[in-house]
């Protein structure tokens, strides 16, 4: 999948610079610049507590940035929060619709709040679209995780927003429901909706047009999947063979080795300094094992970025 064509400033759904948020002494989001083109699916990744949720809340007017400027859908994030709220759909990390209302009652409520024209038809359309129609009278609190997520998506789409902010929408949802969810997201993006989505799943990250990685409130990398991988300059070796546990212990803390990760019967060893890593490998190389240099995966890249960030910011 290719990202939409190069952007001019007016094509940007989100365009912010230097966005900062502090809670007391702690800087949770530190001078983040972000530009998201209209119609793009932008993946936001990072460990827990990296500031993703705080950043999203600033975009949709739930928090006021301590510093930084910018626009969301062309509205100023500091002064035009009311307009932003009208045109943004925000799906919270925790299910936050009314558990004691039915699916239809929840959608009706949200549609009334946004004064959606021809409410009945709009609610019915959204029920049909997300396959909720024959469950519309079920109480939201009794739904399983996957159905709650669909209801939440339906509810944050009902006022036809131009930008969708999804905070870990697929946490705790089974793989099939996750896939259907992503198909839906791609369909929406194809129709022109801009989507900013946070996730911990690498396969989901790979389904985004562009990615950004956040740790300790700092934006560490961004770009398309290929750009992120290339920018990391990470070298990874894959090793198969007997007694990998001993080998892993031997490799850890050697010069140039930054990560040693076991994947079932293979071991991935990565480092940013290719030369030193190769030298170390040459020193411990054992003919019983099969050594192969591979392209670093997104997860390897992210873990490497996080370790680096820990040295710099933590």
């Amino acid at each position: 999948m290719s990202p939409p064509a190069a952007a001019t400033p007016t094509d940007l759904a989100i365009d912010v610079t230097g966005v900062t948020k502090r809670f007391g002494e702690k800087t949770v989001v530190n001078a983040i610049d972000l530009a998201v083109r209209r119609g793009e699916i932008y993946g936001f990744l990072g460990p827990n507590g990296s500031g993703k949720t705080t950043f999203i809340r600033m975009l949709c007017g739930l928090l006021t940035p301590d510093a930084g400027t910018g626009t969301c859908l062309g509205y100023d994030v500091r002064s035009q929060q009311a307009e932003i709220k009208r045109h943004v759909g925000y799906m919270t990390q925790k299910f936050s619709y009314y558990e004691d209302l039915s699916i239809r009652e929840n959608l009706d409520f949200i549609a009334r709040i946004y004064a959606v024209p021809d409410r009945r038809a709009a609610v019915q359309r959204s029920l049909d679209r997300l396959g909720l129609a024959n469950r519309s009278h079920q109480i939201a609190g009794q739904l399983s995780g996957g159905w709650k997520q669909r209801l939440a998506l339906a509810a944050c789409l009902i006022h036809e927003p131009k930008l969708l902010l999804l905070d870990e929408p697929t946490a705790g949802v089974d793989p099939k429901a996750r896939r259907e969810f992503w198909d839906e997201i791609h369909q929406l993006a194809a129709d022109g909706l801009t989507v900013l989505i946070t996730t911990h799943y690498m396969d989901e990250a790979e389904r985004c047009h562009r990615l950004a990685y956040l740790a300790y409130g700092h934006l560490l990398t961004r770009g398309t999947l290929a750009e992120v991988l290339a920018a990391a300059k990470l070298t990874t070796w894959s090793i198969t063979g007997p007694d990998l546990r001993t080998l892993a212990t031997t490799l850890r803390d050697r010069a140039g080795v930054e990560q040693v990760v076991a994947f079932g019967n293979t071991l991935h060893v990565s480092g940013r300094d290719a030369a030193r890593l190769t030298a170390t490998i040459a020193a411990v190389r054992d003919p019983r094992h099969d050594w192969k240099q591979i392209t670093s995966g997104l997860e390897d890249v992210f873990i490497s970025l996080m370790d680096e960030a820990k040295d710099n910011f933590a």
Binding site: R57, L63, K85, Y97
Partner: protein, 377 residues
């Protein structure tokens, strides 16, 4: 069968202590409520109320009349705040609740006394609350026999008839049979409304916050005023159902007189219901969770029942407690309900109790709307 073990019990005990320590407000209220009760029961409440405001209508300027007034004054039960010669004015003071008693000493008091004709001193009492008037009237009877002992020496001593030289006649207005229910049942309306209205709305916003639905609500364009008024309106209906229930029971079960205008009562109830709902909403924006909200509601409820004049005579309380009581909407509402039902008060008589309700409503509402945050900052 698993047996009791001390370490498991201890684990629960420790965890409870840690959680108790984290919830400062709950802990504060657990300490605050006994202190408040001590203050109210220990110092404020008095079932033998003294210094009750009274009006004097003295038509006789003779020394015996003065002695009588002096004796009533030193009994400590009466505080003569008004003196008038106009009967209509005296009635009005009683009607407004400005005085608890009107004491009428007739023009030929001294003459009748000296002739041994046992002059009649008419004591008109506002008996809506029998508990407030009872002790004072009892004191008057005790006083009757002895008041003129010093003034009637020697041969005049014969005037000290065994039933006293003066005939005190009590005219208990509004509740002539001193039926406690007539006072309690209308008062209950204010208490029931305070209890349910405050708790229900105190939970309203805390529940949204606790369940996480607040974040969603804040992300929509909905305005604070819309949320708060939207949460208040449905409960106004509930409040009116309660008012009607109590009125039906008051009439059919307790035979409480309904002298005044019921439509007027319904209209002014709105102000009181709204004031309580606004307090609840304000608590709701202050409390961190539903438990705290309920505790705050209880904190408000306690003085509303004890210092409002519902359970104990308002005028029997010391000044500071009366001042606290005057800040509570229930105090004013009780006077309005009792005034309309028992005394037949009209709008002009209850007006002095309407504006405090209005002020209270505006203040509570302002704090509520100001405290309600549109962001999660």
């Amino acid at each position: 069968m698993p047996r009791f073990t001390f370490h498991r019990l201890w684990a629960i005990v420790l965890k409870e202590f840690i959680q108790m320590k984290r919830d400062r407000v709950t802990f504060g209220i657990m300490i605050g409520i006994p202190l408040m009760q001590l203050m109210m029961f220990g110092f404020a409440i008095n079932s033998d109320p003294r210094h009750l405001p009274a009006a004097l209508r003295v038509a006789d300027q003779g020394p015996f009349a003065r002695t009588l007034v002096q004796a009533l004054r030193t009994s400590d039960y009466f505080a003569f705040v008004h003196e008038t010669s106009d009967e209509a004015e005296a009635q009005r003071l009683l009607q407004l609740g400005d005085v608890q008693f009107v004491i009428n000493i007739p023009a030929d008091f001294t003459r009748q006394l000296l002739r041994g004709e046992r002059p009649t001193v008419l004591i008109e009492a506002d008996a809506t609350d029998p508990a407030a008037t009872g002790p004072a009237l009892a004191a008057v009877n005790a006083l009757a026999a002895t008041v003129f002992n010093r003034d009637l020496p020697g041969p005049l001593a014969r005037l000290r008839a065994k039933d006293g030289p003066v005939d005190f006649r009590v005219h208990a207005h509004y509740n002539p049979e001193n039926i406690t229910q007539f006072n309690v049942v209308p008062g209950l309306m204010g208490v029931v409304l305070t209890m349910t209205m405050v708790i229900i709305t105190a939970l309203a916003i805390t529940r949204e916050r606790e369940r996480g639905t607040m974040e969603n609500l804040l992300a929509t364009p909905v305005r604070p005023f819309e949320v708060i008024v939207g949460k208040i309106l449905p409960y106004i209906v509930v409040g009116y159902i309660q008012v009607s229930l109590i009125l039906v029971a008051a009439h059919f079960v307790f035979d409480v007189p309904m002298v005044g205008s019921l439509p007027l009562l319904y209209v002014v109830s709105l102000l009181f219901i709204a004031a309580n709902l606004a307090v609840g909403i304000t608590f709701s924006t202050l409390a961190k969770n539903q438990l705290q909200a309920v505790q705050m509601a209880f904190f408000f409820f306690l003085p509303s029942i004890l210092l409002s004049g519902f359970m104990f005579p308002f005028r029997g309380m010391p000044d500071w407690a009366q001042a606290v009581g005057s800040c509570l909407p229930n105090t004013h509402f009780l006077r309005i309900v009792r005034g309309i039902l028992l005394k037949g008060n009209g709008f002009s008589e209850i007006a002095p109790h309407l504006w405090p309700l209005l002020v209270f409503l505006v203040i509570a509402m302002t704090i509520g709307v100001k405290r309600y945050r549109q962001t999660l900052d």
